[in-house]
Symmetry: C2
Subunit: 346 residues, 2 copies
């Protein structure tokens, strides 16, 4: 099947660009001497996770337990869930999953630690303690709080203390990480893992003392985040394309395509996407099922029925809206991938 | 099963509120003497569509062909797709679907009309012409353009001209609608259907000459759209609740819950949702899997493991993120509904 034969909207992934992105980051991490733990939230596709592992990734990251279950179902055996697993039902699922894959979890409270410990059996659940080094999300607030929690984790049955994590990796995080490690080691608690993260974080993660770094969006975006200002989408480094059809040309300035917020996700003020065939066209708005495009700057008229290739700018959120992605090389659909981790909110 | 037994995040729908909303709008439309064609984009759940039809709705609306297929699979037989169906593959699906349900489509160009006509067989495809009365999306731009297109539709085999449609219904649309109807009738083209739409549109739709009005969000929101300013979410009229768990309380001012953009959809600057148990708490941000809540105004401390009920403010987009919704009455889960129309982007 060729790309032209796909009904639209269709999420396609260029295999050559994908492979190059995967190879480039693996090489960069090797060069920096830091382990790469790939975050699968961007793609949620086990086949892509396998390509990343084959290229040298040390393991994967899933943000939710349900995504980890999907990846374990596909045979992946080393998964970090950097998320507090809370509640008896969820811990029950965690304990079950831990019997068929190594599942490391992050936590930031004694309540979460006790909850897991109470239900854990064999094997022990590996645990990282999350530090809030300025991300202002989850995480303990000081090295002393990290030490207190680590002492709890070490004593609780069913848990195995493995280290610390933070997000994102930034130079400002270094004093918190270093002090915490020193406090823990002085207390006789070994810290084999220091986990950092963020796209483009391999150098800074190494510099602030991390042993591994969690990076995800590079598979579709290339080595730098695409955003509105300093790095707009580049067709050479961006692997994904949403193929859409022009369904209406109501005025000479406006065309409407068959993908809107339900196809591209909505995250103003970042634009929705970049139109490869018409870089001068501008997606100025989206309703749920319509993409509204200003074509007043385009040289030639665009007609109803034409197909356009749009690079989505909210990659992970966009993937999460689709059941299927089409792996493409030179215009040929080489594989149809289920987005197995899609919608796994629990 | 009780709501407390659901793992989180879980999308629940209160059956009493839902039924009341369905009844109230049906009564209002009867009172105004206008047919109600319920838009299913808000819920995408066939069971809810059936309740709406039982309460007197004249038919349903689906924004995409794939959603219509899901509703037809559930036995629903009168569906309007107010969308240009473009491309041979999609028209093939439309023609197939039209053999098992009455599928009316809207279109705004001769290209779309010819595309459907070329593949249509038995039965004819009923067609409305879409007018751009100021919505600035799809639609012909003048009554004269509508007449020209209607003449085409009337002559093309496989199509049956049924009338005109617009969105949204507003008093300003009246001259365009009236002129178009007059032009068409003068040309000997009957206009049995004038379709308007928008929540709260029953009175204005009637007033500007519509025969039916398309309304959707009322099932979850009540009779008025919930938004930030004049009508915040009201637990008495809003039927849906996202049940989430507090997973982190990193500071006294901040709690983190286990639902973020992947659970609630993102549509700044409208807030993400309203917390029923803590109206003073404020969801100030969301990352993909975390909801960030400011609890500095709350009287009592909120602990890790507590569950909260949040009324999502982007109802349709939120439903589209979930495979399952739980129908609840008095805290008991009475039914588990598949969100059958979810993700049907094509």
């Amino acid at each position: 099947m060729r790309v032209e034969d796909l009904d639209t909207p269709a999420l396609t992934i260029d295999l050559d660009i994908l492979s190059r992105n995967i190879r480039d980051l693996a090489e960069s991490c090797r060069r920096h001497g830091i382990a790469l733990r790939v975050h699968t939230k961007t793609h949620k596709i086990p086949e892509i996770a396998r390509l990343q592992l084959q290229a040298g990734a040390a393991g994967i990251v899933c943000q939710k337990l349900g995504e980890a279950e999907a990846m374990a179902d596909a045979g992946i055996t080393d998964i970090l869930i950097p998320y507090n697993i809370v509640g008896a039902r969820k811990v029950e699922r965690l304990v079950r999953l831990a019997k068929r894959a190594t599942i490391t979890v992050a936590l930031d409270s004694e309540t979460t630690a006790r909850g897991i410990s109470e239900q854990a059996g064999e094997p022990d659940i590996p645990v990282l303690i999350e530090l809030d080094t300025g991300g202002n999300r989850c995480g303990v607030q000081s090295p002393e709080a990290a030490l207190e929690l680590a002492r709890n984790v070490v004593q609780l049955p069913g848990l195995q203390f493995r280290g610390i994590m933070t997000y994102p990796s930034r130079p400002q995080a270094e004093p918190f990480l270093t002090s915490t490690r020193a406090l823990l080691e002085d207390a006789g608690i070994r810290v084999p893992v220091v986990s950092g993260g963020g796209t483009g974080s391999e150098a800074v993660s190494k510099q602030i003392g991390c042993t591994e770094t969690r990076i995800g969006s590079y598979v579709f975006e290339g080595m730098r985040r695409i955003n509105r200002t300093d790095n707009p989408p580049n067709p050479v480094t961006c692997a994904s394309r949403m193929i859409v059809t022009v369904v209406s040309t109501p005025t000479p300035e406006r065309i409407i395509v068959d993908g809107g917020q339900k196809t591209f996700a909505s995250y103003p003020p970042i634009p929705y996407g970049y139109i490869v065939e018409h870089p001068d066209a501008r997606i100025y708005g989206m309703s749920v099922e319509h993409g509204h495009i200003d074509v007043s700057a385009c040289e030639r008229a665009i007609r109803v029925g034409e197909r356009l290739s749009i690079i989505p700018q909210h990659q992970g959120m966009t993937t999460n809206l689709h059941d299927t992605a089409y792996a493409v090389r030179n215009g040929i659909v080489e594989a149809v991938w289920a987005v197995a981790g899609r919608g796994r909110v629990q």
